[in-house]
């Protein structure tokens, strides 16, 4: 297997599942197969291209001062789209702050992702409507939320009915750095103890800001699951077909009541951690160049071209991506600043007399500063 050698696993105990090589060749695997046809692969390609465009536009908006920050997902599109498209409507995803591609798969308007980074929102969408929790910034905290939600699915009898239309599961996203967090290890433990229908999807993008994976963990991350009593699997995170196949299988296993799975999607963060970061200080450009050759989008394009996909498909997709970019730029600039007075109303469901007093004080003070129009 050309792309299987990974430095932390010289014995090959956790070979990467790969179904599409960087050269765009379909390869078979003993346990996993992509279950779609070329049309669905074109659908995945569309998602990959659009998610990269979200990233491109958001990055540009940050550079133009329209966003305070952006966390690029460049290079991780296959891991996100492959896993995101393996989810069913009744499933629920708990993301980090970098899951822009998954958000796209869950039907969240990509423009709503910008609110958090523009500083006008702390969330931006309805988690229940999309089966997609709000972005979580504290590293790893959301893996426990996912596990609890999965325990709730079990309590509600939403698991193991042999009903593919209704059986549900949860997916928790996190990165290689998060595997050092206590919460993530607690989530693994709880999920195993309660046989929770949750898939732990770790995008090992090789860096926790500046700390390479070996500064956070030794040995394949996928190996971690075994110690907790469930299966771990390592997949080529730049191969959208493999990510889709592996996640589909793991989610189905969870929905069937057979418990959790850890998926380590082996990938690479091509961009900075965030727009405030400078990766040239901690990694060699040669490393980045090596990973460019494994680009998650290019390999699908090569495959689709060899399959005779007409040029119009790619041209139309470019137009769609341009429209998405325009939508993002226009919506971003029109996102209203929050009204501080209104924020007092969201601290509690039942309110608080103390907050009501402070709100009244704030509003009175604010109003005292405003010029009286008729007399100015």
């Amino acid at each position: 297997m050309p792309d299987a050698y990974v430095a932390d696993d010289p014995a090959g105990a956790f070979p990467l599942v790969q179904l599409l090589t960087p050269e765009g060749e379909r390869v078979s695997h003993a346990d996993y197969a992509y279950d779609g046809d070329d049309d669905t692969i074109r659908g995945l390609f569309r998602d990959l291209v659009l998610s990269r465009r979200i990233d491109f536009e958001a990055h540009a908006l940050q550079r133009h001062g329209e966003l305070g920050l952006w966390a690029p997902a460049l290079g991780q599109e296959a891991a996100q789209i492959g896993s995101g498209r393996a989810l069913l409507p009744q499933d629920f995803a708990f993301p980090t702050y970098r899951e822009h591609g998954v958000a796209l798969c869950r039907g969240v308007d990509p423009a709503l992702l910008l609110g958090l980074f523009r500083g006008v929102e702390l969330g931006g969408w309805d988690p229940a409507e999309h089966g997609f929790a709000l972005y979580s910034i504290v590293i790893g905290a959301q893996t426990l939320h996912a596990t609890g939600y999965a325990m709730g699915l079990t309590l509600d009898g939403e698991v193991g009915r042999n009903d593919p239309e209704r059986d549900a599961a949860v997916i928790a996203y996190f990165g290689d750095g998060a595997t050092s967090q206590g919460d993530v290890n607690e989530a693994f433990d709880w999920a195993a103890v309660f046989n929770a229908p949750v898939v732990f999807f770790c995008q090992n993008n090789q860096y926790a800001i500046s700390a390479s994976t070996e500064r956070n963990t030794r040995g394949p991350i996928a190996q971690r699951a075994g110690g907790f009593g469930f299966d771990g699997i390592r997949v080529d995170g730049n191969d959208v077909l493999a990510c889709h196949a592996v996640t589909t299988a793991a989610m189905q296993k969870a929905r069937s009541g057979e418990g959790p799975t850890l998926i380590e999607a082996y990938t690479y963060r091509m961009g900075a951690h965030t727009t405030s970061d400078d990766p040239t200080r901690y990694r060699d450009s040669s490393e980045v160049e090596t990973w460019k050759l494994k680009d998650p989008i290019e390999r699908v394009k090569r495959y689709l071209l060899t399959q005779g996909t007409p040029q119009e498909f790619f041209d139309e997709l470019d137009v769609e991506a341009d429209e998405l970019g325009k939508h993002l730029r226009e919506t971003c600039k029109s996102l209203p600043d929050p009204d501080l007075a209104a924020l007092f109303d969201h601290v509690y469901v039942d309110g608080s007399t103390e907050l009501e007093e402070q709100k009244a004080q704030y509003v009175a003070f604010r109003d005292s500063l405003e010029p009286e129009g008729s007399e100015s």
Binding site: L134, A141, T143, T147, M151, G152, D189
Partner: protein, 325 residues
């Protein structure tokens, strides 16, 4: 109907009533099942409601609170037992960064109706980390509500009200008073959860306390009465939000205010209450507001805890000092 029972049994009966009223109420904590919790507060509940509603948790406090967040997303109303005050800190991030903020972060779309029960305070001769009073750390956190009961009747009603609240409530239980008997009236309409209460009327000075110190203050007031001093005692009951209207009304009459708590003095609730009394009752005060609290030490070895904790003599000394001002 009125029944005499210990405070801990009042909590148990309140939990039972809440579980009977709403099948979305779950209990989650360490040793809460067969054992009934280390203080037996959940005694018998797993037997009657089953293992899916009274869940023995792995030994991981962040996991208890973190999974409760997910259960709340799913529509459950988890009631969490943190075994001892000093063990809540591994869960501090989940409480402060997640439970407290999700309603705000989601602009009201996500509710976190979670109750975090914490047996708190000293006086039981325990080892380290079993006698602390961390309530101020939660009361200062926007998005949390914090209450503390001081007697069996409040225990019975307040735990039910906390569970019915759509906001997260940190429920501070005065562990040294678990065995104190009191009348529980299971029929009468209770006070609202976030209401303070005058528990002893007086005219000369006002003692303000909550949780375990309410009894200490009542005993102090009794002793003061024997010496001819009439002391009013207010049980705050709610620490966030504070309900200080009864306090202001009292202090305007007495002119003397003394706040009593086990927690350390600096930046404790006494500081906030003192500040608010000064803001609202400035012209009525005959003396500065006095605080009688634990000292600014890590909780000491238990053989000196009675000297560390506010007791009757320290409270009476403070009353005298205020009246002599």
């Amino acid at each position: 109907m009125s029944t005499k029972m210990p405070l801990g049994k009042g909590l148990n009966a309140g939990l039972r009533a809440a579980m009977e009223a709403d099948d979305k109420v779950l209990i989650l904590g360490e040793d809460v099942g067969k054992l009934g919790g280390v203080f037996r507060i959940t005694d018998g509940l797993q037997k009657d409601f089953g293992e899916s509603r009274v869940i023995d948790a792995p030994l991981a406090e962040s996991g208890i609170v973190g999974t409760a967040v997910g259960l709340a997303f799913r529509g459950y109303r988890p009631v969490l037992e943190i075994q001892f005050d000093g063990f809540v800190y591994p869960a501090y991030d989940q409480i402060v960064s997640q439970v407290a903020k999700l309603h705000f972060r989601s602009q009201g779309r996500v509710k976190m109706p979670i109750v975090i029960r914490i047996p708190f305070g000293g006086g039981i001769g325990a080892v380290e980390h079993h006698s602390e009073s961390p309530e101020a750390q939660f009361a200062l956190t926007a998005g949390l509500k914090v209450v503390s009961c001081s007697n069996a009747n409040d225990a019975y009603w307040m735990i039910q009200q906390a569970i019915a609240s759509d906001d997260p409530v940190v429920f501070m239980e005065p562990k040294r008073r678990y065995w104190d008997q009191g009348e529980v009236d299971t029929d009468s309409e209770p006070l609202p959860l976030h209401a303070s209460k005058v528990v002893r009327a007086g005219t000369d000075a006002t003692l303000i306390a909550y949780g375990p110190m309410v009894k200490t203050c009542l005993e102090s007031a009794e002793a003061a009465a024997e010496e001819g001093t009439s002391v009013e005692v207010i049980d705050l009951r709610t620490l966030s939000p504070l309900d200080l209207a009864p306090v202001f009304e009292s202090v305007r009459r007495t002119g003397h205010a003394i706040v009593v708590h086990e927690a350390s003095q600096t930046l404790g609730l006494g500081a906030e209450i003192s500040s608010r009394i000064t803001e609202s009752c400035f012209y009525s005060l005959e003396a500065p507001v006095i605080r009688v609290t634990g000292y600014d030490l890590p909780y000491p070895p238990s053989r000196v805890e009675e000297e560390f904790l506010p007791g009757l003599d320290r409270v009476l000394e403070a009353v005298d000092r205020s009246l002599a001002y």
